[in-house]
């Protein structure tokens, strides 16, 4: 296609857009969204994505349970979230329309594949009559397009089986959206060539359909203009698009390189953490050892064994897996061994909403074990932040000889953002010491400053010792049931973790001043929504500030004085107020909560609304 052809229609410049592809889980919506994301990244927009797919692998075609969606928010400005409401909804069938229409802005563009609006499909989606004939166009700009038929027409000459033809209709939608938002198709063409290099017929069909969608936008009379979104002002550097799970894996890989430790990942498949196991397993050539265990318990047990042997044990899971692992995690607490527990939180309780997000496990990480068993907790705030947070988890774990909880969630795990690739020299130094000195050795002798015991590799002559889940005598590590000793050990374990507060950065405002009327405090994946809300509130002239906790246990040393500089504190969370409970208990501050637990990230507007109410 030539440049002149492209310019036939008017191009309007927008600041930002939020679009969602929705269809059957077999319609390739995740793939379509992923391709659109790559093309958008290349254009230089800031972006944030939210894949939303069903727990069922292939729910019956056309059913509401089988609707899969992919949302992307892209902008010429710095953005923080995948967007509250949609400018464009692409609905490939009635079920996709029904499940997603409520998120489309009034006046937004609704692009539907009318061929899929058959009587059967309408019935499956629970429509009594065709919603397209039911006044939808009074509220939205409806574009009824025969996507299936146009795809067939594009491929008519190729005489391909109907199934293959039908499967490529998502590329028609993708091509059309490329035209609508003037994205380059080259990356997708390259990708298709790579993917179907050995199936020339399918490659040709896919390219034809993709281009057909693009040309359709250009030639049809329905679209009067199309849009462009200029490059965002982003910090200079080299970027790639990254999901939270990918960044978590790269964090582990970097930690292994920085520490010189062999990473041993013990894991058991569980949504939404499994991708970490899949991805990390590819790095055998880096000496990474991964183990798909027989269950969650064996996974963490093997990781603890690895740490005892001088490797770095890591286990990845979600809330239900943490339940199973908790006895073992406490063994690592008692034996004071490094261990990284990655909890990629999902909707609960019980099996809950496996593919949806939640922040419901904070108190589980904090308290979900018998007795006094403190564990440092760090939480990632964005997909890319999973990388830095993982490095921090490893640093604390090996320095303080303790298990550490690394918290992520379904939204971060699968969501993506442009990530500025760090230079190797920018990465933190993580020092690891193994004791080899025999003189005066006891397993529970402690470093004066950190209170950490020394790490010894079995195989080191003269340092043979036994560690145990039984209570042990201070210093010597012998089994001890002495009451004074137990009281002392309980307090030493608590003190060791509390001292980490001296070794982590102070909390600081992100937007706003260090004093004010309202502080919006968050942790984990709510950062984007809170940032966006705070920016808007500041624009409106409120004295509002937001801050975000990476360290949930222990808290930064200055947190109490920081909180007390604000008249009110609001803590938005995708749970019923777990951080709020900790803050209230610890600092006796009457923090308010915004708690919507819908399996989705918090909406910016919900935060703004409550904040304005509190500010009145």
């Amino acid at each position: 296609m030539t440049l002149t052809e492209e310019k036939l229609k008017k191009i309007e410049t927008l600041e930002e857009a939020t679009i969602r592809f929705a269809g059957d889980s077999g319609d390739g919506m995740q793939l379509t969204g992923g391709q659109f994301t790559n093309a958008t990244a290349i254009v230089g927009n800031d972006l944030s994505t939210l894949p939303d797919f069903p727990a069922e692998i292939r729910a019956p075609a056309g059913s509401l349970a089988g609707v899969s969606g992919f949302q992307i928010h892209f902008s010429s400005k710095d953005i923080h979230t995948p967007g509250d409401a949609l400018d464009v909804l692409v609905a490939m069938n009635p079920a996709a329309l029904k499940a997603n229409l409520r998120d489309l802005k009034p006046g937004g563009m609704l692009i539907v594949n009318t061929n899929a609006f058959t009587e059967t499909n309408l019935k499956k989606a629970g429509y009594d009559k065709n919603p397209l004939d039911d006044g939808l166009n009074q509220k939205y700009q409806v574009f009824s397009i025969e996507i299936s038929r146009l795809t067939q027409l594009a491929l008519e000459e190729m005489k391909l089986p109907g199934k293959i033809v039908d499967r490529s209709k998502n590329l028609f939608a993708l091509g059309l959206m490329y035209w609508l938002y003037t994205r380059p198709m080259e990356k997708t063409i390259e990708w298709l060539k790579k993917k179907f290099g050995d199936k020339p017929e399918i490659l040709e069909a896919n390219l034809k359909v993709l281009k057909a969608g693009y040309h359709f936008g250009e030639t049809t009379e329905s679209f009067i203009s199309h849009y462009e979104i200029k490059q965002a002002k982003i910090i200079p550097g080299k970027y790639r698009n990254i999901t939270g799970n990918e960044a978590t894996v790269l964090g582990m890989l970097a930690a292994s390189q920085l520490t010189g430790l062999t990473i041993f990942l013990g894991s058991y498949p569980i949504t939404p953490a499994s991708d970490i196991l899949h991805e990390l397993s590819k790095y055998k050539h880096f000496g990474i050892r991964t183990f798909q265990a027989e269950d969650e318990i064996a996974a963490v047990g093997a990781a603890i064994g690895a740490s005892f042997a001088g490797g770095l044990g890591v286990t990845t899971t979600s809330g239900p897996g943490v339940c199973l692992k908790s006895e073992f995690i406490n063994l690592a607490v008692k034996t004071e061994l490094p261990l990284i527990i990655c909890d990629i939180q999902r909707g609960g309780p019980s099996t809950g909403l496996p593919t949806k997000t939640e922040q419901g496990d904070l108190l589980q990480a904090m308290f979900g074990r018998n007795s006094e068993s403190p564990i440092p907790i760090v939480a990632a705030a964005t997909p890319g932040d999973c990388f830095d947070t993982m490095l921090e988890a490893v640093r604390l774990s090996v320095k303080y000889m303790t298990p550490v909880f690394f918290m992520s969630d379904g939204y971060l795990a699968n969501g993506s953002e442009p990530w500025k690739i760090p230079q190797i020299y920018e990465l933190p130094k993580i020092e690891v010491k193994f004791r080899t000195e025999k003189n005066g050795f006891y397993p529970y002798l402690r470093d004066e400053k950190t209170l950490a015991r020394s790490w010894v590799k079995p195989g080191e002559a003269g340092l043979e010792h036994v560690i145990s889940g039984l209570e042990t005598e201070q210093n010597t590590g012998k089994i001890s049931y002495d009451p004074t000793n137990h009281d002392a050990m309980i307090k030493i374990r608590a003190e060791r973790i509390a001292r980490i507060a001296n070794d982590i950065p102070d909390i600081k405002p992100i937007f706003g001043e260090i004093k004010g009327d309202l502080l919006i405090l968050g942790w984990g994946s709510t950062l984007g929504s809170i940032d966006a809300a705070t920016e808007k509130l500041l624009e409106k002239g409120y004295k509002v500030t937001n801050a975000h906790l990476r360290h949930l246990n222990p808290f930064p040393k200055n947190l109490e004085s920081f909180l007390k500089n604000f008249k009110k504190v609001l803590i938005p969370e995708v749970n019923l107020g777990q951080l709020r409970m900790l803050i209230r208990a610890k600092y006796l501050i009457d923090a308010q909560g915004l708690n919507i637990v819908g399996g989705q990230p918090l909406k910016v507007n919900a935060i703004i609304e409550l904040a304005e109410k509190l500010l009145k």
Partner: protein, 340 residues
Amino acid sequence: MAITEQSKYTKADFESANDVRWCPGCGDYAILSAVQSVMPTLGIPKEKFVFVSGIGCSSRFPHYMNCYGFHTIHGRALTVATGVKSINPDLSVWVITGDGDGLSIGGNHFMHAIRRNQDMKILLFNNKIYGLTKGQYSPTSELGKKTKSTPFGSIDNPINPASIAIASGATFVARTVDKNVKHMMDILKRAAAHKGTAFIEIYQNCLVFNDDAFVDYTEKEIKDDHSIYLESGKPLVFGKTHDKAIKLNGFHPEIINLSNGNLKEALVHDEKTEDRALAYVLGQMGVENEGLPVVFGVLRDIAQPTYQERLLEQEKEAKEKKPKANLEQVLNAGDTWVVS
């Protein structure tokens, strides 16, 4: 594994300074002593031994050994041992477990460690009772067994450790008994020499909660009529005067009298046979089918790559394929773009 002079150590080198807290007369003492006696003969540096245990009377074992040890949680020793051995395959890893720890709460791990042929020794002390929790029935307790938790007798069918091990594909399976220390030491040495999972079931008397559970195999007057000590390549002959043997009738072992010179009918043991059927028949004798003697010795000892050998092999291949891989390259992989 580095081999040092065999004479370097004595039994005392493997004895820890900790007081042994088992009940006086417990079968565990004999096992501890046998293990401590065998260690110096193996030619392995002391610091390379790691003893891993779960929870139960037997699991106190690592505290009494003067080498690296990890006393973990109930039923899970095999998982910890898997991690230890996978990080440092150079270590000699010994797992100490019991019938409750290994087969009840830890039953899942038992099966999976064995099927993977994890390169470690598993010493299962079978006393057919829960000792540390003071006398409940265990998964190996016999049907009808009256215990604190089964005052009317157990209604659970027991399981046979050897059968599970063989069904899981164990490459080494042996059985011995606490009172026969010499035999136990021989079996420990055989297990030490095996590459892959070496499973030993040790009949161990709990004189407080289940005394005389194995009296048939330990009491001088009767033991020879109830036990067969296996030797590969030799017929299964037993009895005080070596007057009886086992013959196979189809799949069923039966006792024959040797007085009429029919020794050639007797079943001949072959521990190296790949097929699991023979070991399975042997392991069941006297345990799952009554009226037959129980076999002691090595039921099965076959060669198969270990989990750790496969792990290292795969890692080596991966490194050879991508010798120049580095972190920077991985961080910069995929579609990237530069913002200036």
